[in-house]
Amino acid sequence: MALPEVKQTATEARLATLTMPDAGCTRAAREDALARVLEMGLPGRRDEYWKYTRPDTLISPEAPRAALFNSDEPLLFGNLDRLKIVFIDGVFSAEDSDDLELEGVSIDRIEDICCKDIHWAKELYGVLEARGQSPVQRPLAALNTAFAADGVAIHVTGKPSKPISLIYRHASETSDAMLHHIIRVESGAEVTILENGPAASRFNKCMEIDIADGGILHHVRAQGRDHERRAATHMFTRLGQESVYKSFTLTVNGILTRNEQVVELTGDDAVAHVAGACVGDGDFHHDDTVFVTHDAVNCESRQVFKKVLRNGATGVFQGKILVKEGAQKTDGYQISQSLLLDDDSQFLAKPELEIYADDVACSHGSTSGAIDETALFYLRSRGVPVKDATNMLTLAFLAEAVDEIEDAALAEAIVNRLEGWLSRHI
């Protein structure tokens, strides 16, 4: 079917600014992805899936300018032992990164695998993204598969001794970065992946994660604090039997963030937890779009999303649990909550369930409101100043999402970040 004219024009204008990398073994996948983009067109304002977030600046030919951000705060995860992989404006920096050698894991740059004819990542590149295009289209992810020039392929075969940390730095005010990462966790392997930093003025990231039977992946990411950046990220995760995926995302400011997570439970007894905490002030727009598909028996999924908003900030949550026919004994849970600290902020949610199996327990909840006056009064009556009391209650509100992080040190680092934000903004 022909695309509407507006969409066609916007898509063509964007594609005109991009060139497909010399792609080697990923060539076919990239060309397929480009065909998908041409068929779907880039997201437009009238698309139902973009009802609450305007995609204009994410698809414009040029990235809007974003001032660089300097903070005197200590670096996140700075004191943790980790393997650092650094990207500056979306380009791998060997100079700033550690040696990519670690027992139990092999790491290659996408650029390197592109010039090889045989590589394990070839079987995965663009595959999960393509699966994730149905029933909802995600054209920005297909665009990424077609054009991303950099990124890493991480193959986990054992239990590496330290987390692998992807660090994104923003150096140019007009940078427009695209990164595509592939992670494969083999049977019985376990790894922790960290991601943090502002990346670029405009950042389009796609991550494909394949967890084999019994594999475990912990994923903690923090999106950059610089206020003017824009980001659209996609994470596609496929889980095998008895595998575990636990993900947490912290978003602090950012003029526009759209995080899409697509989780597919394909093996029996798999567990997927997806959580997020975001705090926004002013012209902040944050969108969590999550799609969990249960396609096996006795799987568990949890979505926990908390948003604190003030000064006209906007929080969006679109979450869906799809239980396919035959996915009996499914335990699906979803909660999205917002704390509106003033009257100008808004919370827009669309928590969906689509269920085709009868022996399931699925529930979702969504609430929105101001700080509980009674709780505030209680704290104040015990001599806690109003500012501290508000901070305490706000942190308590966010705790349910932060609690999804299993590692105490990582959780503490996240809580410190949140405390820092609260002390500056409330």
């Binding site: 026919e325 269920i355 009868d358």
Partner: protein, 506 residues
């Protein structure tokens, strides 16, 4: 129901029981009335619109209003966002106007009324006393009423057959008549309110309805009047290949109260039929309207053949401060349901409530829910929705709760629960929640589960068979909504719940 026909009568079970079971297992209202009808030509075009207007003896302004709606309709596309699938409807391949020949002139006495019409309503279970009035017999109002009085407007295909208790209601200043009569007798009210809640160009089906609606009910409750009896409309589709497009307009003036009931049935046919209604309710300061529906259109057979496509737009506008509306619906019929009774809470401290049970079995599909649009301060809304899916049916709750920036200190509570019976059906929840101020609180909860094995075991242990046990558990699941129904409907609804699920267990 072939299985039932072959059932051997066991020892100790009399034939009466078997017949009773057989009867509840099928759609009770699936028969048709063989009556001479008068049709407008098939299809829809400006001439048909003019013809309908002419048949209703409408003034010029009304005809123009309809034609403008038709013009608009040709420009909009059929919506496809609902989770329902059905073959494309050929809007030119059906009748838009059908009325019994005998209704050409309003009958003055019982003798003049077509006995087939009388028999139809008798068979539908409307008490004789009412039925006489339904048939438009003058003088029947004086007969002693048994129990509580309910005034009825009966719509048969495209026309209103009769409206009861009009004189008694008139004593209180209440106007209750068919909409065609209202257009003739009370043009000032109709002009002021028609299309003010559901605008002509609101959506595809509402626009079509605005162009071709043939009849429906009109209610006006004057300031400070508590309507002395419940009002109701009974819709019956009888003719084949005929769409029913009725329009209901209810105006509750300051400080008034009315409870309104709506029922509907249709014969069993192999081809699907279209029903696209519009209900508009205007509620002024301190007024309250209760609107209850038991929707029991023919749902199609066990193979999914036939049935009614029920595409309805219902909306209440709480214009005045402290006004209140309550929608209660029990949706058991229709092959496809597309219906979202909504509340616009414009007045400060106005309240909207929505209680719904939607039951789908066999190949039925329902996409239903509500919209609560909070505009005024201190407004409150409550949504309780229970969806039950059995057989190969699909049941979707779709709703919107919107708190506008000026709707300070407002409150919403939403609960939507789904129950699945069998592993071939689906239950879905699609809520939209938009909160644009922080003094309002919005809470949404939804669960999906199956009939609890422990509860079933408990009931069976006490000697109930499986179907009875399921019906009991389901009735418990629906309790919150059943309790919100007026007495007349509560009993009927409870039975309907059980009947709709017949054959879904095992």
């Amino acid at each position: 129901m072939a299985a039932l026909d072959q059932t051997q009568v066991k020892e100790g079970v009399d034939q009466e029981t078997v017949d009773a079971v057989r009867e509840v297992g099928t759609y009770k209202y699936g028969w048709d009335t063989d009556i001479e009808m008068e049709y407008a030509p098939k299809g829809v075009n400006p001439d048909i619109v003019r013809l309908i207007s002419e048949k209703n003896e409408e003034p010029e302004w009304m005809t123009e209003w309809r034609l403008a709606a038709f013009e608009r309709w040709t420009q909009i596309e059929e919506p496809n966002w609902a989770m329902v699938h059905y073959p494309k409807i050929d809007f030119q391949d059906q009748y838009y106007y059908a009325r019994p020949k005998s209704m050409e002139e309003k009958p003055k006495s019982l003798d003049e009324v077509d006995p087939k019409l009388l028999a139809t309503y008798e068979k539908l279970g409307i008490p004789l006393k009412e039925q006489m009035i339904l048939a438009g017999v003058e003088g029947a109002e004086d007969m002693p009423a048994e129990g509580r009085k309910v005034a009825v407007d009966a719509v048969f295909d495209s026309v209103s057959v009769g409206t009861t208790f009009q004189d008694e209601l008139a004593k209180h200043g209440v106007i209750f008549c068919s909409i065609s009569e209202a257009i003739r007798e009370h043009p000032e009210l109709v002009k002021k309110y028609l299309g003010s809640v559901v605008p002509v160009s609101d959506n595809f089906y509402a626009t079509l309805n605005s162009a071709v609606f043939s009849d429906g009910s009109f209610v006006y409750i004057p300031p400070g009047v508590r309507c002395p009896m419940e009002l109701s409309t009974y819709f019956r589709i009888n003719a084949e290949n005929t769409g029913q497009f009725e329009r209901t307009l209810i105006i509750a003036d300051k400080g008034s109260y009315v409870s309104y009931l709506e029922g509907c049935t249709a014969p069993r046919r192999d081809t699907a039929q279209l029903h696209a209604a519009v209900v508009e309710i205007i509620i002024e300061e301190d007024a309250e309207v209760k609107y209850s529906t038991v929707q029991n259109w023919f749902p199609g057979d066990e193979e999914g053949k036939g049935g009614i496509y029920n595409f309805v737009t219902k909306r209440a506008d709480c214009r005045g401060d402290r006004s209140k509306v309550m929608w209660t619906q029990v949706e058991t019929g229709s092959a496809v349901t597309w219906k979202y009774p909504s509340c616009i809470l414009r007045g400060d401290e106005s309240q909207g409530e929505f209680y719904s049970i939607a039951i789908t079995n066999n190949y039925q599909q329902a996409d239903t829910g509500t919209k609560m649009v909070h505009l005024g301060k201190n407004t409150k809304s409550r949504i309780v929705s229970k969806g039950i899916s059995a057989g190969k049916a699909q049941n979707t709750y779709r709703g919107l709760v919107s708190m506008h920036p000026k709707a300070k200190d407002s409150r919403n509570y939403t609960q939507c629960d789904s129950l699945l019976i069998g592993d071939k059906c689906g239950a879905h929840t699609v809520p939209y929640i938009e909160v644009r101020n922080n003094s309002s609180r919005v809470e949404h909860e939804a669960t999906t589960s199956k009939v609890d094995d422990d509860q079933l075991f408990y009931c069976r242990q006490r000697g109930m068979d499986e179907e009875e046990a399921v019906a009991l558990v389901v009735n418990g699941f629906c309790k919150d909504v059943l309790q919100a129904l007026p007495m007349e409907f509560a009993m009927e609804a409870q039975q309907l719940v059980a009947i709709s699920l017949e054959g879904s267990v095992g």
